[in-house]
């Protein structure tokens, strides 16, 4: 039998340790009876409090859900059409468009946040959930764009011409050929956008207005007055949600691929 390399094994386990142990502690403490750091017994009281006694938290969650879903949806539509355009049509600005789209991905979030704030102030837009939505669309867009473009570039461009040649109009080509082959890219783009939007703090912090607190902003402000075990319980719920979402996405993509 091959001897296992001990160095890479220890790196592996150290990484797992530091990545997973905090999560494990979090899950454990969400079931702690006491509010303080020491273990006093098993209890689900923080879960009860989470679901029944935290209206502000749920309001923030609602805001986050609205922003995440709507901004991901809009970013997916624009990003997909943009990727199709860049892949399909040859125009002069094509190369620059790709580079410009990359920019928001590599720029520090704080710069995007500040620039959006200045921009909104400049055009006289009052900060609200709508400005948060606009900001989220703008930073989600490149991810969708690049994921869909990467998918499209796997294919011989001539299948688009083949569709036209066989009698499909441009709209039919888009609906019958381009969208079906891009679907895995579109789905993962949408989910990436939802995730990024749900967890964004820095950019949202700059562009949010009164009453438009999102979940990360709420958690941050709650934690400033000491860690509430309700947050632990919320985190566990979110971890579960993420696991379910990831699992179903994988199966959905497999299902598409097999079709």
């Amino acid at each position: 039998m091959k001897r296992r390399p001990s160095f890479s094994r220890s790196v592996f386990f150290t990484t797992i340790f530091f990545l997973s142990l905090p999560l494990f502690v979090l899950v454990l403490y969400s079931f702690n009876e006491s509010k303080s750091g020491s273990w006093t017994g098993f209890s689900v009281r923080w879960y009860v409090k989470l679901f029944t006694g935290s209206p502000q938290l749920w309001h923030a969650f609602g805001n986050s859900a609205i922003v995440a879903l709507s901004s991901a949806l809009v970013a997916t539509v624009i990003g997909t059409l943009g990727a199709v355009a860049v892949n399909w049509y040859k125009f002069r600005l094509r190369k620059y468009l790709r580079t410009i789209t990359f920019l928001p991905m590599i720029l520090p979030e704080i710069i995007i946040g500040v620039s959006l704030l200045i921009f909104f102030a400049g055009i006289g837009l009052r900060l609200s959930l709508f400005t948060v939505f606009v900001a989220h669309v703008s930073f989600n867009l490149p991810f969708v764009f690049l994921l869909v473009l990467a998918r499209l570039e796997e294919f011989d461009i001539s299948i688009i011409e083949a569709a036209r040649d066989l009698g499909a109009s441009e709209t039919q080509t888009l609906l019958r050929v381009i969208l079906p082959i891009s679907m895995p890219g579109i789905v993962s783009g949408f989910l990436t956008a939802v995730t990024l939007s749900l967890e964004d703090f820095v950019i949202t912090f700059f562009v949010t207005g009164p009453g438009a607190t999102t979940l990360p902003l709420y958690v941050y402000s709650a934690i400033r007055f000491g860690v509430s075990p309700v947050i632990n319980a919320l985190s566990v719920v979110m971890i579960l949600g993420t696991v379910v979402l990831t699992w179903s996405t994988r199966n959905f993509l497999k299902y598409i691929a097999a079709k």
Binding site: S158, I159, D165, L166, G167, A168, S169, Q172, V177, I181
Partner: protein, 369 residues
């Protein structure tokens, strides 16, 4: 015979570059027509203009007499078999073939019948449910052609579809394609850089070079009576000898070879002082140790440089006396020449009617990348 495809003074410019230069062409209904040329000669541009993917800079394309200017590719009665086939990967074989019929809004019963008929005709009756990656290279080829034929196009365009196949399969598919075309009777316009493909399959061939047609004719005409230096070099294999031409006393033309030897010629030539000429003679027109000795028969002494055995296509490399050229000479496998060895001195010769001369022009006839 009705004209299926008519091209009138067609020109395509990309900026300063003229890809297709004032080309005219008529293809009769039901013919297998090839456009043969080296890569970069403009043949794909020509094909894409016919299909509607490029707009011409000048001239007209007519299909059964109908002008195609400003008609979108999806509205033209032509279909294109792409170089890499471009089958839809997310659809099965049946859906690929049905795609065009569905775009026309045909009834599903009619679609079903047509698709199954065509699958039968291309010899893959059971393949409908298969996905594209379950098919072999040759099968994909047939599906790509079936997908176009089901629409009963006026002209089927094919853009080097055999290029990606390996040699044996390519030989096989050449014959298959020819048989299929004869059977369905659709006009085929086939683009290739492979002169053997063009000759085996076609009723007519246009040899294209640098955006223009050099010669249009049957494969036999091109092979036996090339009209330019380019065609002589590009179609079939040919020996090229540098010569100078002059007119003899009896007003017949003759060619002086670099070793001083005089070759008699048939035909007349337009001589100008200082022109360099090339004499072309096909390997199979050169006879080894000929018995003839008439005035119209040209003889050369030479030394065998190498024997290139290739079954029925075996050849000798012969260097004529007083020259460094290497002539390719067909070596019939009839036992008669089995005793020829490398370094042997032999006599070779050809009838003057078999050779042809053109003013010297060096064409790049193959890619040596």
């Amino acid at each position: 015979m009705q004209i299926a495809l008519s091209v009138r003074n067609l020109t395509k410019k990309f900026g300063d570059f003229t890809a297709v230069n004032d080309i005219s062409l008529d293809v009769e209904d039901g013919k297998f027509f090839s456009i043969l040329g080296p890569s970069g000669c403009g043949k794909t541009t020509l094909l894409r203009m016919i299909a509607g993917f490029y707009e011409q800079t000048g001239g007209h394309i007519e299909l059964r007499g109908k002008d195609m200017t400003n008609i979108e590719p999806n509205k033209r009665p032509v279909n294109l078999v792409f170089q890499h086939l471009a089958l839809f990967p997310m659809m099965n074989v049946y859906e690929n073939i049905a795609f065009g019929l569905r775009r026309r809004g045909e009834k599903s019963a009619a679609i079903d019948k047509k698709v199954n008929d065509l699958l039968e005709r291309v010899g893959l009756p059971e393949a409908g449910k298969k996905t594209i990656d379950q098919l072999s290279g040759g099968q994909r080829q047939r599906i790509a052609i079936a997908r176009c034929l089901v629409l009963e196009p006026t002209v089927l365009l094919l853009d080097e579809p055999l290029g990606a196949l390996d040699a044996k399969l390519r030989e096989h598919m050449k014959i298959e394609l020819k048989k299929l075309q004869t059977q369905v009777g659709t006009t085929f316009v086939y683009i290739t850089h492979d002169q053997s493909e063009a000759m085996v399959m076609s009723d007519g061939v246009a040899v294209m070079n640098a955006g223009k047609f050099e010669q249009v004719g049957t494969p036999q005409e091109l092979y036996h009576h090339p009209s330019s230096s380019f065609v002589a070099q590009f179609v079939g294999s040919n020996n090229k000898l540098h010569v100078t031409l002059h007119k003899g006393e009896s007003s017949a033309f003759s060619a002086r070879y670099s070793n001083g030897k005089e070759f008699s010629l048939t035909g007349t030539y337009d001589l100008e002082d200082g022109d360099a000429w090339d004499l072309f003679i096909r390997p199979e027109s050169v006879i080894i140790n000929p018995k003839e000795s008439s005035a119209s028969f040209n003889l050369l002494q030479g030394e065998v440089k190498a024997i290139l055995f290739d079954g029925g296509n075996s050849r000798l490399l012969v260097t004529p006396e007083g020259s460094t050229d290497e002539l390719v000479v067909a070596l019939p496998q009839t036992k008669q020449f089995d005793d020829i060895q490398v370094k042997d001195k032999i006599r070779i010769g050809w009838d003057s009617s078999k050779s042809v001369c053109f003013k010297r022009a060096d064409w790049k006839i193959y890619d040596d990348e």
